[in-house]
């Protein structure tokens, strides 16, 4: 290859950062990170576990801990993280707001209100809080979409979501003052976001939901690029704006509702992961959506591992939402200052 040609290739790579080859490479690296995080999470912990024994001797305690406790929990973390990461990236592009968070469209308020009602009524059997949280977030999403989703401006949906979240938080405070203190404790723990044990059947259902939703978002990611320029620009370039917006809002809402139902409100993943990846990889959603899914999965699995490793320090397990917020908050402020300094 001649020098001129090589220089030409370099220039093209700087000018157009997206290419199928580069995207594949980056996604493979991130997928390897997820696998490494899953392995680390499944092997490390209070009980020192031998991976070889766990895999080779199905009757050992190691195998039991590995397959029944750690793998399901790590998989749950990966699914929730992927949902929050991909939805965060898609919503930031759709709403043209880098500070948009997957919970912004009322999903968090709906889920929190649903779970609070379930816990206040003592409906803890049969995954009561999860079902109520899912129902609550789907109902909130329905409200936000009917009131604001079909308008030309993305702000209608955004504002409806913010208002609904405020309403839900007032309702939750109201409920908390009316019930016994031990139930308030349960509600607080749920709201902070934590990963627990879910049955293989629940996990399989969640996996199907998340693969479908992230798949839809990935499919729409090229259109999301155009939408991030503005609705009219996108429309003039052939994007069916209203249809794309509804599809993306539905996919993110179902994805986040499914995640929140199983984990509570794990904050910052959907904000930090897409942001960091955008700084590293550029703004192209065709890469950012899948990369944020993988990055979110790895980040949440490692954060959860962290809460388990901190168990001996606090003698209780911190909700993983606390860890993501403690890690994510300062980092986010740093990013914000950096981006403000640049403009």
């Amino acid at each position: 290859m001649s020098v001129a040609l090589a220089q030409d290739r370099l220039a093209v790579a700087r000018e157009v950062r997206f290419s199928a080859g580069r995207a594949t490479l980056i996604l493979c690296v991130l997928a390897a990170c997820v696998v490494a995080a899953l392995l680390a999470s499944a092997t490390l912990g209070e009980y020192p576990l031998g991976l070889r024994r766990a895999l080779l001797d199905p009757l050992s305690v190691d195998a039991s801990v590995f397959w029944r406790l750690r793998v399901p929990r790590a998989v749950l973390g990966a699914l929730v993280g992927a949902a929050l990461g991909a939805s965060g990236s898609a919503l930031q592009a759709l709403l043209k707001n880098p500070l948009a968070d997957p919970f912004i469209l009322g999903v968090s308020g709906g889920a929190a209100l649903g779970a609070t009602v379930a816990l206040a009524l003592g409906l803890t059997a049969f995954a009561g809080p999860s079902l109520f949280a899912f129902a609550g977030s789907v109902a909130a999403m329905g409200l936000v979409l009917t009131v604001g989703g079909t308008r030309r401006s993305p702000y209608a949906a955004l504002l409806t979501g913010v208002v609904f979240n405020a309403f839900a938080s007032a309702a939750i405070t109201g409920i908390k003052t009316l019930i016994s203190p031990d139930k308030v404790g349960e509600i607080l723990y749920w709201l902070a976001g934590s990963l627990g044990y879910e049955t293989p059947r629940t996990l399989a259902g969640a996996a199907v939901l998340q693969v479908a939703c992230v798949g839809v978002l990935w499919r729409q990611s090229g259109r999301l690029n155009l939408l991030s320029l503005g609705d009219e620009d996108a429309s003039s370039l052939g994007v069916p704006v209203d249809r794309t917006r509804i599809l993306v809002l539905l996919a993110t809402s179902f994805s986040v509702a499914g995640a929140v139902a199983l984990s509570g409100l794990v904050g910052f993943v959907g904000l930090i992961v897409p942001h960091l990846l955008r700084l590293l990889l550029g703004p192209d959603q065709r890469l950012l959506v899948p990369a944020s899914a993988l990055g979110g999965a790895a980040f949440l699995v490692l954060s959860d591992l962290f809460t388990r490793l901190l168990f001996p320090v606090f003698h209780t397990e911190l909700p993983v939402g606390v860890v993501t917020a403690v890690l994510g908050g300062p980092f986010f402020i740093y990013l914000l200052q950096r981006s403000e300094a640049r403009t």
Binding site: A11, V12, R14, E15, V16, R17, F18, A20, A93, K96, G222, N225, L226, S228, L229, G230, E232, D233, S235, S236, L237, G238, V239, P240, R278, G282, P283, D284, R286, T343
Partner: protein
């Protein structure tokens, strides 16, 4: 020959309130129609209606001989390009990435641009002298530079009909002339253009025909040479105008100053 864009007794507006009324005109392939008029006279509204964002309240709007609703968004974008007045997004794309988006309506299911799409984008940027902006972030560019990139994006789209909303706004004099020369060269190769302009002199030098809009009504429509005159422009803008002919024989118009 089928007109690229034709209006028959067209009224368009927001909701039920018409902004422009009674438009009848044709834009043939290989011709440039300049739309002149004061601010708020409905020029941009007219362009928007041609993109299907404002359905006609009355009359008909035909694109390539077919009613607008016969076109699905993507098919429309393959044939019609639009250059907006402003562009404020700072999503962080590079100049080349922005121009490459003009190829979006032509891409396949995976949305992956081919070498050919890259070549089209590069050629459009070369045409407008903005290739040096290829690797720069659009957020760091000046209003005029972004404007040129949007024009390059529209050219990369390879449309049959190009709708320009004040293409020369934010541009210095050299770029104004250069851009309109490049557009004119494309028109001579068969492109149809509707350009909203504010400069009657630029319109006089590039347009085949002009449409004068005032308060949502047509003040005049016809071949540039016949229609543009100091009196007509005076009544269009509500400002006394003078006409002069330069040594090289070019007609120019200027407001008559009364300090």
């Amino acid at each position: 020959m089928t007109a690229s864009l034709s209006a028959r007794g067209l009224s368009v507006g927001y909701g039920r309130v018409p902004v422009v009324e009674g438009l009848t005109f044709d834009v043939q392939p290989g011709s440039l129609l300049a739309v002149l008029g004061p601010n708020g006279s409905g020029k941009s509204t007219l362009l928007r209606s041609a993109l299907g964002w404002l359905p006609p309240l009355e009359g008909d709007l035909l694109l390539f001989g077919q009613p607008l609703r016969a076109f699905e968004r993507r098919r429309l974008a393959q044939r019609v390009a639009w250059v907006p007045q402003t562009f404020e997004s700072d999503a962080g794309f590079t100049g080349m990435e922005l121009v490459l988006m003009g190829r979006a309506p032509h891409l396949g299911a995976w949305g992956l641009p081919s070498e050919r799409d890259l070549a089209f984008s590069r050629a459009a940027m070369e045409e407008l002298d903005v290739l040096p902006l290829a690797g720069r972030r659009t957020g760091e560019l000046s209003g005029g530079e972004r404007r040129l990139l949007l024009l390059a994006r529209a050219l990369a789209q390879e449309p049959e009909l190009l709708l320009l909303d004040e293409p020369t706004a934010f541009l210095d004099l050299r770029h104004q002339v250069h851009v309109l020369q490049r557009v004119r060269a494309r028109v001579d190769r068969g492109l149809a253009v509707v350009a909203v302009l504010h400069d009657a002199n630029l319109a006089a030098s590039v347009a085949d025909s002009v449409l004068l809009l005032r308060d949502g009504h047509v003040l005049g429509h016809g071949p540039t040479r016949e229609l543009l005159s100091a009196e007509r422009l005076a009544s269009l803008y509500g400002l006394p105008m003078v006409e002069a002919v330069t040594e090289s024989g070019v007609r120019t118009f200027a407001p008559r100053w009364t300090p």
